[in-house]
Symmetry: C2
Subunit: 580 residues, 2 copies
């Protein structure tokens, strides 16, 4: 803070000079005492000065809250903005009207494609949004050494960004196996974070006992992958803040609530992790976590604390998360504590949303340096042929509603060359086509339980390496879909009997579009309908989101990368043939 601002702030608080803005007649949510109090709130130069007095000079501008609740702006403690398929500016436009004013974003997806160039694009593209975006430097790029991603971030690269004041720490340490084994290159990253006195985010589904001790001893201080109250308490006991996640796919809030108690709620936060545009538009953002928790019995002020002061404490952001003198005037107004629906939002004292409408004018940032990342070489339909030594094959068996898969075994039909061909079973081909380095790598396998017939579905959003993933019953349609993605610079495509039925370009790194959220939500819904209605993808399976996770080699059991089928439990590639 500069001296003139500090001087002015004290003068306004003391009533010697007028405030820029007075929010009159507020019922302020006091996150420190877990209480409410009635007050006028004086704001100047983007900061809260104080609560005024009877003999104070009138503010330049007055807003009458008419007794509505005034709370601090909400904080999403862990989100991958890329999962919304939207640019940071568009993400801001969708979430700010719901009351989110700060997010801790891990640009893990775009860094897997573009490395630090992707990181810098996210920094730049969110620099002037109404939404305050803080970043974590991704810790696990690539996710595993078994596949080709667009970049490798070692400790030295991470160190280049950790000093940035908008960087709060090291992103989720997904490689918990490596942490517990004290892998050298992971230790290097942890040491770098420690050197910068920055927080380390965790990701430790199912870890307990000594393994959890080892993981925590490494310095990890958050986790958003808990799925039971016992896991929550186990982590909190070790000084790990637990983030209750409500994403589009992962719904943990209700399951975890029994673990949130008066003794430990200060160590509980909210996050969304991955949330698509349709979910943001239809259900909201962190306000949705709060409503859900409160409707399941959580005290509303505690819920607000979890989305504000607790997050500010965890991530060492002392300038926000409360309605108190000297803090940022990031504020939300609403009528009902039990059903929080935000109708006004201020960021740094500026009204940025009213009744669902975004009022900020964010500058458009061109996706320079991160567009058209489609370096596919040596590709042809013939290269999608899957020759098999035997007719007993493994399948990646989808579990509807889950990102975990099972390993299936089927007797398959082969053509005269010994290559897989479709039969009446619910099995299609799945391929991952490397798109970053022009290696020409293509991984091939079989997918069970997808429902698709007569066509292909493809996307360049495929966690975490984001190569092209395509599922189809014939090589020709699959190849058309892949080529469409290459031509568009990434995105989504559906092909049926040689014809492109629909597509959505993702011109930002092949991960995000530069279009309005509503359009994206609508187009994705449309593509989903085509996939289900025309191609026969099961209604119980989201056609694109399911594919997205089939290439993620850190979630059990069988997955596929550009180097082939991958057994996550055994942590190695395996052949498609199951005659071993």
């Amino acid at each position: 803070m500069d001296k003139s601002t500090l001087h002015h702030l004290i003068d306004v608080a003391a009533g010697r000079v007028p405030a820029d803005l007075c929010l009159k007649n507020c019922r302020v949510v006091d996150v420190f005492n877990k209480d409410l109090f009635s007050a006028d709130v004086l704001i100047t130069r983007g900061l809260i000065a104080g609560f005024g007095g009877s003999d104070f000079p009138p503010a330049e501008e007055t807003f009458d809250a008419k007794g509505a609740y005034l709370a601090p702006g909400l904080i999403d403690s862990h989100v991958h903005i890329e999962s919304s398929h939207l640019s940071p500016a568009e993400f801001s436009r969708l979430v700010v009207p719901h009351g989110t004013t700060t997010v801790v974003a891990d640009p893990h997806e775009i860094c897997n494609v573009c490395g630090l160039e992707g990181f810098d694009y996210m920094l730049k593209a969110s620099k002037d949004t109404a939404l305050q975006v803080f970043l974590q430097v991704p810790s696990c790029v690539p996710c595993t050494p078994f596949e080709h991603a667009g970049a490798v971030l070692e400790a030295e690269q991470i160190a280049l960004r950790l000093g940035n004041p908008r960087v709060l720490g090291l992103g989720e340490l997904m490689n918990y196996v490596g942490v517990c084994a004290a892998d050298d290159c992971i230790l290097d990253k942890l040491i770098v974070a420690d050197r910068f006195h920055k927080l380390v985010d965790g990701h430790s589904p199912g870890l307990f006992g000594a393994a959890l001790d080892a993981y925590t001893a490494s310095g990890v201080r958050t986790d958003h992958e808990c799925s039971s109250p016992e896991e929550l308490e186990d982590r909190v006991r070790r000084g790990v803040y637990v983030l209750l996640r409500q994403g589009t796919a992962c719904h943990d809030v209700v399951n975890l609530l029994p673990g949130v108690k008066r003794g430990n709620d200060r160590f509980c936060l909210f996050c969304t992790d991955d949330r698509q545009s349709a979910s943001l538009i239809q259900e909201g953002h962190i306000d949705n976590n709060i409503r859900l928790a409160v409707s399941h019995g959580l005290d509303p002020i505690t819920a607000i604390c979890m989305a504000t002061i607790n997050a500010a404490n965890c991530y060492n952001m002392p300038d926000r998360g409360s309605v108190a003198p000297g803090r940022r005037a990031d504020l939300i107004l609403f009528e009902d504590l039990d059903d929080l629906r935000v109708h006004h939002v201020w960021v740094a004292g500026k009204l940025v949303a009213a009744h669902g409408t975004y009022l900020a004018q964010d500058p458009h940032v061109k996706p320079e340096g991160v567009s058209g990342r489609m370096n596919v070489r040596n590709f042809s339909p013939q290269r999608l042929a899957l020759p098999l030594r035997s007719d007993l094959a493994r399948t990646i068996r989808i579990i509807p509603g889950s990102v975990v898969t099972e390993e299936g075994r089927v007797r398959v039909k082969r053509d005269q060359d010994g290559c897989w061909v479709r039969d009446e079973q619910d099995v299609v081909k799945i391929a991952v086509v490397e798109r970053h380095k022009g290696t020409g790598c293509i991984g091939l396998g079989l997918l069970e339980g997808y429902g698709l017939k007569n066509g292909a579905v493809a996307t360049s959003v495929a966690h975490d390496s984001h190569n092209i993933i395509v599922a189809g019953d014939n090589n020709a349609d699959m190849a058309i879909a892949v080529r469409q993605l290459v031509e568009m610079g990434g995105g989504m495509a559906i092909v049926h009997q040689g014809r492109l039925l629909g597509s959505l370009p993702h011109e930002i790194a092949g991960l995000m579009t530069d279009r309005p959220g509503e359009e994206v939500a609508h187009r994705l819904e449309e593509l989903g309908s085509i996939a289900c209605e025309v191609l026969g993808v099961h209604e119980s399976v989201d056609p694109f989101m399911t594919l997205c996770f089939m290439a993620l080699p850190v979630i059990p059991k069988l997955k596929i990368t550009d180097t082939g089928l991958f057994d996550v439990n055994a942590f190695c590639t395996v052949p498609v043939e199951a005659d071993d």
Copy 2:
């Protein structure tokens, strides 16, 4: 942390290599869940690794806790070590066996005498003590511009020490009037603290409303001067951590307890502020705050949280305050949650106290550069004569048990030169003799309600400038006492009818002795008895502590400095004569 330590820590947590120490059969106080759990605690290289497992290799050393409670080491969030009259090493020897392992110390007293040399002595003298001493850089040296202290610390000097990793922030901003008025030189200090991202400690007795807003807007984040639950809630509401103080003179814990609630207790801490050696020996340290609070109804685990994790969070010390993997093994063991009596203490995994005995071997640090600070010039008994223009005089009237005074008015007796002489009233002379700069300044006044007859009591511990303060009924005895202090390099002295009845040298800056705590406590008690029994000082008045506060010109109402009588409310010097 270095990489080899991190590697080793993870290996121990995972059970691959033996721990240095295993504390078996502990009932661990879980400050995160406010819960208890039974565990063995593995320690290596001074850190907690984890809680072990059945197939773990045996530790190098095992300590059987036999089911006793294991909690994190206690933290005193605000203390002036100088007030114990002991060196830092001796302070450590007295408080560590009571379970205190970390203190946030404001070396305000020694800095008023020696400036940054005093600060550096405190850093050096506490560098290798078992007690972990963090320092705040004093913000108000001198206390006011109306008197002579030994040093002036401006923003530039403060900046020279704020970067030190053992410095947590800016010490208590006592000049709350200046803060609320946005005084330029105070803003400079606040800006410096902000630049270093360091905390600012507060001191705002009785402030409320807009003044408290202004004070908080300045960035102040703690307060240890609350005396009512309402004051506590008012400060917490503004995001100010409140420290519940139990000093030798100030007893706030019980008064404040009704304000500590389940909603806000995370923002409540404990401190002692000023605590003399006798109190430390007889009652204890932060363990005394806990026992007192628990005996008055506070939940024992909440009380422990206030002395551990809450303080660690407030002062941004993520490496301590809990029994969790990766944190420092600063630990205490005790049998009864409702009456916390610590019997074993580990600091960084080393046993440093057992059953009240200090086991650490701290190196002795010579008080170089801070001894013999007695630069008194142009002094003679004649200079203690108090000529009065009239026989109506103001007195500083003592309120027993308080550091606040009243202004009294008395008709006094004068000699042939018009100078004050003793009569039958309970009024004696009080003088402050400048000792830092050799200015020759002597401030003179009258003290009512002290009880002294026939002699003089003097000390060089006199908040905050620590000039020599002396009370007596005759100039000769007063002068002997002053000269005795000069000769000893500071301390305490009692003179009766021309004879020195007792003294205690304070060879460290005239504020602290280099002797054992037990001896100091005993000698102080002895001196107190002499003052009461021989000189007639009232039993209700501590002879030295009362004098200590008579020179503190920021506590109402009438005080005395080396430049004369000072009206704190009017904030100016006033004549002794009351005929205005």
